[in-house]
């Protein structure tokens, strides 16, 4: 089951953090979006709802949520920092379209064998992993085929 706005709010309270309208707004924005959002994206979206909010507050809220493990950071070549709601499975991975930038998530992956082998070979104690695939999504593939036929500029 996915983390909901209410659940996150409850966790915040439990941890002794105040639930301000600004935090609610940031939270709502992240919960409503399935994409990964940069701080600036979130700020833009949140402004509509809470016009007075400052970008600084968005940064601080993101930092807080990330620290509590409620949202996850994504690092890719394009946007260096973006966030999305954490999936309940604990971790998940990304499939990023090089055309339009859309991010699809997937959770099922079995890297345990590889992780074990690496641990043996390198002496690392492996704690986590980040796996990202890059490619072209259905939509971009279709549209580039179309424009190829038309002679794309």
């Amino acid at each position: 089951m996915r983390l909901t706005e209410k659940k996150i709010a409850a966790i915040l309270r439990q941890e002794g953090y105040k639930l301000t309208p600004q935090r609610r707004a940031v939270l709502a924005t992240i919960c409503l979006s399935r994409d990964h959002l940069t701080p600036a994206d979130i700020y833009e979206k949140v402004r509509h709802e809470s016009p007075g909010i400052g970008l600084v507050t968005v940064y601080r809220t993101l930092e807080l949520l990330a620290r509590l493990g409620l949202i996850c950071e994504l690092h890719s070549s394009g946007a260096c920092r973006s966030y999305s709601l954490r999936r309940p499975a604990g971790h998940h991975h990304h499939l990023i379209c090089t055309g339009c930038g859309v991010v699809a998530d997937f959770t099922k992956c079995d890297l345990s064998e590889l992780a074990e082998r690496l641990a043996r070979e390198t002496g690392f104690e492996i704690e986590d992993h980040l796996l990202e695939f890059a490619g072209r999504c259905q939509t971009c593939r279709t549209s580039s085929e179309r424009s190829a036929k038309q002679g794309d500029p």
Copy 2:
């Protein structure tokens, strides 16, 4: 076989780029280091050899080398952009120590099965992937065990 400074120099010439002392210096630094270096790291190292070099030149050289596919970029939470020599296998992956930041590379991984499944399920045409493991290297594990016994501050 690993890419050498000479080989890269030859490739640059082939591609019609000039081989200036500054580019040589940046190249030498990257080739001599097995770690991933940030632009600032490289700048610092290169300065010793070529005191007059500008940070801008380092950026431009890195961009050039990355464009030619001779070095690869790494994106991780800590340092957002760092570079290392490309491994001959085409692509490789990283094992990053959360303690000291050391990066070990590995090349052997078989994600083709997973990639195929994802392609089927999502309609993406998968072109590339990025796999990073995070953990604690042998050295950090040893030293944290030691400091744990001493009562780490």
